[in-house]
């Protein structure tokens, strides 16, 4: 986008909220578009995924005081909800919702970054570039899922007393103060798998690479894969659940469980959730 273009279309950019067709919704991914399917019926809320994320992505342990102020850095968190119609007791248990960056196709965070630190990759991820980030936090404000986390403190100097730094994953940068960060779908793993595949003149096979959360999940509630490949499990699940990456307010059969969270805001997220099921007769 040139400056002339920007100036000519200034009123357009100022006034229009994102609408369908503004972006290139027929954006063709030639090789990879990473996506997830998360079955809320078998997610038990056990937090194995969140701990795996701490281990894989060098997330700092912030401590009680900072946690109290909402400075926790868990890229994936488990939200717990009680039923609104609950009587005296939660008779149908709790609702657990693992929430991580949804890698939106029309990501609200990308459009507001003043320095282009967050942008769309050719694999359909929202990349976050720590060294370019200036810490304006606009992206976090604009994120409807609230999955972006800001380093209010200089964690590298406090969160890992020696010899804990020996555990840090060398493939992931340790972020310093003033940097925004978020779930990357474990891009370091994806890059490694892609590079291995390229060396062998092929594409990454289905199931060859998964993020740390998917790998840990004891109930295998999360499926991850390349949605461009129609034979991948995740692509088949999306199709089976009648969820299309580029549609909003989707109509589907009553018995089908797939949905995306806050789809009506039109961020076109890459994570499909499967509805929690409860036996109402029990």
């Amino acid at each position: 986008m040139s400056i002339t273009n920007l100036l000519n279309n200034w009123s357009f950019y100022r006034k229009k909220r994102p609408y369908q067709g503004q972006y290139d919704l027929n954006r063709q991914y030639s090789e990879y578009k990473w996506a997830m399917a998360l079955d809320l019926d078998i997610c038990t809320g056990c937090n194995a995924c969140t701990t795996a994320c701490y281990a894989e992505n060098n997330l700092p342990v912030v401590g009680k005081e900072r946690f109290k102020h909402g400075h926790v850095m868990h890229w994936i968190r488990i939200e717990r909800y009680w039923d609104e119609k609950m009587g005296e007791f939660p008779e149908q248990g709790a609702s657990f919702l693992p929430m991580m960056c949804q890698q939106c196709e029309e990501a609200p965070c990308e459009t507001v970054c003043p320095v282009g630190a967050t942008s769309h990759t050719n694999d359909g991820l929202n990349s976050q570039n720590y060294h370019r980030c200036v810490g304006s936090r606009y992206c976090s404000v604009n994120c409807p899922y609230k999955v972006r986390y800001f380093n209010f403190w200089n964690y590298p100097s406090t969160a890992w007393p020696a010899p804990l730094p020996d555990q840090l994953n060398p493939d992931v940068t340790v972020r310093t103060k003033g940097i925004m960060e978020k779930c990357t779908f474990c891009v370091q793993r994806l890059n490694e798998a892609k590079s291995r595949a390229r060396t062998e003149y092929r594409l990454v096979r289905d199931g060859e690479v998964v993020p740390a959360c998917v790998q840990a999940c004891p109930t295998s509630a999360i499926t991850f894969g390349n949605i461009v490949d129609p034979k991948s499990k995740v692509a088949m699940m999306w199709k089976n659940q009648q969820v299309d990456l580029y549609k909003d307010m989707q109509e589907k059969d009553n018995s089908v469980r797939g949905y995306r969270i806050l789809e009506d805001l039109r961020p076109f997220p890459s994570v499909m959730y499967l509805e929690r099921v409860r036996d109402m007769e029990a």
Binding site: C46, G63, G93, A94, P163, M237, S255, E281
Partner: protein
């Protein structure tokens, strides 16, 4: 930095995975350690392991934080005056020799070895050491032991632990069993649970006084007065027998037993509506095969064994035995079998210490000063023992009391072999191997120390083994014929290490054909509360904390409790209705007192708890152990009353009554959950009725 010698398989920048075994809890999951440039970075599941199935829980991942813990003990410590001072290994071992060696003149009865649950070849070695001393005093102690459940299973099935087939059941009725979070094998059961929830989707009903993680995943969660679960089960049995099918197949004993448990009586005792009893019986009748299980909140009472047995009888009545309740494989290696531990064992030891029986006590894998109730006076009794040795990774409450504290390898630095007490298929021996070189030069392998100790008296017998690794190798190679391995010993050893598991096919244990109902004598009168202590105390087990031994891991402290989302703290769960009547708001400090002490802890208003119960999670309240654990929260073990299970002598964990007093102090509860606990009408988690969903059409 370039190395001098080649390290096999090490390419800088590339990760190598080595198989090992997780020792964070007793499930013995096979795991893989991701190793880069000689350091272990991350734990992942080993797909070869039938227990873990290639998956791992958060507690297992924290093994690396135990390894790199900033509060690890890095050198031997000896008590000088009232404090522990660093000392060399030579001096430490010389002291061991002086106090317990052949020349010390110590008699086998004067020596006690307290360990946590143990299995495999280290257990054999420990046993051999005790034998060489002529001692029978191996006290296996786990604060949260399965002993009561084992006793109940023994009565009903004739085996300690049957194999549970969640995947085959259409309906699972769980009485207080948090099989997804704690207990026998959470990672394995989580995988089984996932199969159970796939088409045709099974239904889970959970009956317990305080909602566990498993309860939170139930289709129907039913609160019940603590300790009356057995009565409820017999009430359900009573209704079941009204269905013609069952009255024919069930023995007269059972018919007589359940006769008096009509719905109204049962409802009066348990606080569950009588309609629900009939409803549950109807569901059990309709959905066969079903599976009925019982757990910690059932077992932790004076009549714990009977309570659990009464529940297990339902499986008998419903004909689930042989379908969803099966025999585990009979291990062909009885000497390697796990010693699961019990409270009764420690109580005997504590009495011995009080009487001045012991001259020397070794403690490994247990922290009894922290996990015993204050009424036992364990700390004072321990101080009476002239020579106490602790083998630890970090100084805990028990080690602080010891005369000699020896730093041992963590699980990721050591060799070992393990057999879990819950075996899903066949017998799986999981192998533990070092994932990296030792981090501190002044730490030693527990196996090496044990070998040195055995050699004090049996040098000739053990002279062929310079270290534990060579001992383990010889022992493991002996298993070769059992798995019909035909290659050389050397191949077998390396093959075993690289796969991380040895699978042995073994015949199933036989479930007894019949059982006696004579022992069942559950209270039929309404549980009358003590006016001074009106609340039932539920010391709940958190899935990543258990008895608190790994509380010094930042990841675990910051991992929100699944149900309350509280972090870095202890809290008291109280039902909103009760809280309202007492004027309690979230964050108010409560004084919770039993006959044995008082804890001051913040209130958390929690709908998933019986209004007459109050729950405090275990695992926090450390006075030692390290920077992440010390001074965080309170320790409910301390205030438990001397109430014991009458058949096994175990501590009745759920048998304590408390009073609750609101104080004027209040503080924010640090938690992950937002200001509201519902979805506020947004479609975040959507719930679909099971009869609408068509899971069979899904991929």
């Amino acid at each position: 930095m370039p190395n001098v010698h080649p390290e096999d398989f090490v390419v800088p920048g590339l990760s190598v995975f080595y198989a090992s075994t997780c020792t964070q809890c007793g499930s013995a999951c096979g795991v893989m350690g991701r190793v880069r440039e000689g350091r272990v970075l991350k734990m992942e599941g080993n797909p070869e392991s039938k227990i873990s199935g290639g998956k791992i829980c958060g507690l297992g991942q924290a093994a690396v934080q135990v390894q790199y813990n900033p509060d690890r003990l890095t050198q031997p410590m000896m008590k000088v005056g009232s404090s522990l001072q660093p000392v060399s290994w030579d001096k430490a071992m010389a002291m061991l020799e002086e106090k317990t060696g052949p020349k010390s003149g110590i008699n086998g009865d004067e020596f006690a070895f307290v360990t946590g649950a143990m299995s495999g070849h280290l257990k054999v070695l420990a046993q051999n050491y005790l034998d060489s001393l002529g001692s029978k005093n191996h006290f296996v102690y786990e604060a949260l032991s399965p002993a009561v459940g084992f006793a109940a299973n023994k009565q009903v099935y004739g085996v300690d632990m049957p194999r549970l087939r969640f995947d085959k059941a259409k309906l699972v009725v769980s009485f207080g069993s948090d099989f997804l979070g704690t207990g026998a094998s959470p990672v394995h059961f989580a995988a089984e649970y996932a199969k159970f929830r796939k088409a045709p989707r099974g239904t889970l009903i959970q009956i317990e006084p305080k909602m566990t993680m498993t309860g939170a995943n139930a289709d129907r969660w039913i609160p019940i007065i603590p300790g009356t679960e057995g009565v409820f089960a017999l009430g359900v049995a009573n209704q079941l027998l009204k269905h013609g099918d069952f009255s024919k197949t069930v023995s007269v004993d059972i018919v007589n037993l359940v006769g008096k448990y009509d719905p109204d009586t049962v409802s009066g005792i348990t606080g569950v509506s009588s309609d629900l009893i009939g409803h549950l019986a109807g569901l059990l009748w309709e959905k066969s095969p079903s599976l009925v299980i019982s757990g910690a909140s059932v077992e932790g009472h004076v009549h714990g064994v009977q309570n659990a047995s009464a529940i297990q009888i339902l499986n008998r009545i419903l004909g689930n035995v042989g379908k969803t309740v099966d025999g585990q494989a009979q291990s062909p290696f009885p000497q390697l079998a796990p010693a699961t531990g019990s409270f009764a064992s420690l109580k005997a030891m504590n009495d011995g210490m009080g009487a001045g029986t012991y001259k020397a006590v070794f403690i490994y894998g247990a922290n009894p000063v922290f996990t015993t109730p204050s009424f036992m006076g364990f700390r004072d009794n321990l101080r009476k023992v002239p020579f106490k040795v602790a083998f630890v990774n970090a100084i805990d409450e028990t080690a602080e009391e010891c005369d000699l504290v020896l730093p041992i390898y963590t699980a990721v630095e050591d060799f070992g072999s393990h057999i879990a007490w819950y075996q899903p298929e066949g017998v799986e021996i999981t192998m533990q191997q070092p994932l990296m070189e030792k981090l501190y030069s002044d730490t030693r392998s527990m196996g090496d120390i044990m070998l040195d100790l055995v050699k004090q008296r049996r040098a000739d017998e053990y002279k062929n083994w310079p270290d534990f690794r060579s001992y383990l190798k010889t022992a493991v190679v002996n298993i070769k014929p059992a798995v019909k391995y035909t290659d050389t010993d050397e191949h077998f050893w390396y093959d075993t290490l690289s796969r991380g598991v040895i699978h042995v096919d073994a015949p199933q244990q036989q479930i007894a054909e019949s059982f006696s109902t004579e022992m069942l004598d559950l209270p039929t009168t309404i549980n009358s509360p003590d006016p001074k202590f009106p609340f039932y105390l539920i010391p709940s087990e958190r899935h990543y904390f258990r008895d608190g031994r790994h509380a010094n891991c930042g990841w675990l402290q910051e991992s929100p409790d699944p149900l309350t989302t509280v972090v870095w703290d202890s809290w008291a769960e109280i039902h909103p209705k009760t809280a309202e009547s007492m004027g309690i708001k979230e964050g108010d400090y409560l004084e919770i007192s039993s006959q044995n002490g008082t804890l001051k802890v913040k209130a958390y208003l929690f709908p998933g708890i019986h209004p007459d119960a109050i729950s405090i999670p275990l695992g926090q309240g450390h006075e030692s152990l390290g920077r992440f654990a010390k001074g965080v929260g309170v320790n409910p073990f301390r205030i438990l009353n001397p109430v014991f299970e009458k058949d096994t002598g175990e501590l009745a964990m759920y048998g304590t009554r408390v009073s609750v007093k609101k104080t004027a102090e209040s503080e924010i509860v640090v938690k992950d959950e937002g200001p509201v606990s519902t979805q506020m009408g947004r479609k975040l988690v959507v719930t679909l009725p099971a009869d609408v969903a068509q899971l069979s059409k899904e991929i």
